[in-house]
């Protein structure tokens, strides 16, 4: 009922208004719109404008130069690596999770359903801390890691786990409503015609799901790009090893590299924005 997929296309249709209601007088309506726009402008646009102007404070050239720092490149690469891996894992398992929650009845359904919303509300610091309790030098799994010569805390695997944790809800929450509205009749029909479970899923269900799936992927990706608190606590911000782009920004601020910091921040924001808007445009075109 409320996926991004659905709400934006419906929104793009003309606004719906009851036919016969006496509208608010023109000035009151304008006032209302004005208040909302002013709020959005002051709250959201103003800081973003400050960000862009900070990035270009010394001109486009300085901004580009800051971005071509090898540290920026490796930090960005690490961010992307973690984000792609996260998307791959959640893309598969998040869909499975959605399927299980929509199609099956079982004890503990409410728990599974509730628990996957938790990452929205858990503080990133707590996420990092939990992982340290598990994988730190004195953590629960420390002997196991020692035996396998694996590093999780203060290394990339820990950061991947942290990112997986905080992005878990997105995939399932985008796919579930779409899966539900799709209903089982077509799946039943396919089964009657002799299709196997897998075939049914791929040829019947998934095509109907795909926009929910895509939006889930995009949101997961965008959230993974911007993760900061959890990867800071579990990764340690080691330059050249566990520094994502957000951690680079944090370091750049410390080093008084303001143009670099703001430029990198702008890149992250732009990337997410482009992905979201791009997906919506693609969808409109398909229609």
């Amino acid at each position: 009922m409320t996926t991004v997929a659905q709400s934006t296309t419906e929104l793009n249709a003309a606004s719906r208004r009851p036919e016969n209601i006496r509208s608010l007088s023109a000035w009151r309506r304008r006032l209302l719109i004005g208040v909302v726009v002013a709020y959005a402008a002051l709250l959201i646009l103003a800081p973003l404008a400050a960000l862009v102007s900070g990035a270009f404070a010394k001109g486009l050239g300085a901004s580009l130069q800051a971005l071509s720092d090898p540290d920026v490149f490796s930090a960005f690469l690490l961010t992307l690596k973690i984000a792609f891996l996260t998307v791959a894992v959640h893309g598969l398992l998040g869909t499975v999770l959605a399927w299980v929650l929509v199609r099956y009845r079982f004890r503990g359904h409410w728990l599974l359903n509730g628990v996957i919303d938790l990452p929205f509300a858990v503080s990133p610091v707590v996420v990092g801390y939990m992982l340290l309790l598990l994988f730190g030098r004195t953590g629960l799994f420390a002997p196991l890691l020692e035996a396998l010569d694996l590093k999780v805390a203060f290394a990339v695997p820990g950061m991947i786990l942290a990112t997986l944790f905080v992005t878990l809800p997105f995939m399932a929450r985008e796919v579930m409503p779409v899966l539900e509205s799709f209903g089982v009749e077509q799946e039943h029909a396919a089964a009657t015609l002799g299709a196997s479970g897998w075939q049914t899923f791929w040829m019947v269900t998934f095509p109907a799901l795909r926009w929910g799936f895509i939006y889930g992927v995009i949101l997961t990706f965008a959230r993974a790009l911007g993760e900061f608190g959890a990867v800071l606590v579990v990764g340690g911000g080691i330059q050249g090893r566990t520094e994502t782009l957000t951690l680079f920004i944090y370091r750049a601020l410390d080093e008084r590299q303001y143009v670099g910091a703001y430029s990198a921040a702008m890149v992250l924001g732009l990337l997410s924005l482009v992905l979201v808007i791009g997906t919506e445009l693609l969808r409109k075109r398909e229609k």
């Binding site: 992927v217 410390d254 008084r256």
Partner: protein, 351 residues
């Protein structure tokens, strides 16, 4: 359409896995440790000497290459001293720990990761020093010249959070020590109650607690606050970077002594002991000490100190953690423990 998506996802996953395996050798294994090929050293330091170590690591790498034919690359991390110490104890496999105060190195030793006595290095293991001082706005509009001025009502002070920052702890002890020594106007000497009252009056004026000394001074630079209590070398580095604030040295202040140590467990695990010890020894040479001085740190090397004495004004009453407080072993619980003088003060001023 769905086939395309599947294919894309698979490609991306494979790519990222390959990139992951390729780009990152397991963190613990390292190439040869004694003189062949290349090796990597991991440095865990506090926030302030970032620029100094940036230069020193490069200098050392080129010298080591010449002498021993081995490539050395560094991975550095700069956090508040307390935070860095904690990270190393929790599993950050730093080969070398360069922290703000001896107590933080002690914590690593207490965890069993350092098994030798680092005080056997020159100068009792202290690789650099500084003093606690103030950064004030250009022209010193609030007329801050000494500790007593910090208690004036309405003043906005920046100092980092003692929970995470070593610099913050030095600041508190410098203030307290000066008060105990009778060097603060209107505060009786050797009177703990009076000194604590003075501490509280200054704490009341603190506007922001940043995580580390570096964050604190950059916050000050962004326009927050009237005065920042900080390391002298932070102010000097900031001025080198073009900031126009001024340095004010109080009449009585503490000597900030920064220790350094090789982390035994990790250098043995990585096989980097020789290089790591080489690096630490290098830091005590005249050349390295000159680099420290260049970045605002007072050298303990007598020659270098003499040569740079114009850069570093003498302090009227300089005391150390050992003179005044019987060392960090005593001071940490007494001031920063759960019932510590500072810990209680910060609560009492709000109630």
């Amino acid at each position: 359409m769905n086939k395309k998506i599947l294919k894309t996802l698979i490609t991306l996953t494979v790519m990222s896995l390959l990139a992951g395996c390729g780009g990152q050798s397991t963190a613990t294994s390292n190439d040869a440790s004694d003189g062949t090929g290349s090796t990597k050293l991991i440095l865990g330091a506090y926030t302030t000497p970032r620029e100094a170590y940036g230069e020193l690591t490069q200098l050392f790498a080129s010298q080591w290459k010449e002498k021993n034919g081995q490539e050395v690359t560094f991975e550095e991390s700069y956090l508040g001293s307390g935070a860095q110490s904690r990270a190393i104890v929790e599993g950050f496999e730093a080969d070398i720990a360069a922290l703000s105060l001896d107590g933080d190195i002690q914590k690593i030793a207490d965890a069993g990761l350092i098994t030798h006595d680092w005080h056997t290095l020159p100068n009792n293991g202290m690789v650099s020093t500084s003093i606690v001082a103030f950064a004030v706005r250009k022209g010193n509009p609030k007329n801050i010249h000494d500790w007593a001025d910090l208690a004036q009502p309405g003043l906005e002070i920046l100092t980092p959070d003692p929970k995470t920052s070593g610099g913050a702890r030095w600041n508190i002890l410098a203030l307290y020590g000066a008060a105990l020594r009778g060097k603060v106007k209107d505060v009786a000497a050797n009177d703990e109650a009076a000194a604590t009252e003075f501490l509280k009056s200054v704490l009341k004026n603190v506007t922001v607690f940043d995580k580390g000394a570096r964050e604190s001074i950059t916050n000050f630079e962004a326009g927050t606050g009237d005065v920042a209590i900080t390391y002298e070398n932070e102010v000097l580095v900031g001025k080198q970077a073009g900031q126009d604030y001024e340095l004010v040295i109080p009449a009585s202040t503490i000597l900030i002594e920064n220790p350094i140590s090789v982390v035994d467990t990790y250098v043995d695990k990585h096989g980097t002991r020789k290089v790591a010890e080489g690096f630490v020894q290098f830091l005590f040479t005249k050349e390295a000490q000159e680099v420290f001085a260049k970045h605002g740190l007072r050298s303990l090397d007598t020659e270098v100190a003499e040569a740079t004495k114009d850069q570093f004004p003498a302090v009227t009453d300089l005391f150390t953690i050992t003179d005044q407080f019987k060392g960090w072993e005593e001071a940490t619980p007494k001031y920063f423990g759960d019932d510590g003088i500072y810990t209680q003060a910060i609560v009492e001023i709000q109630q």
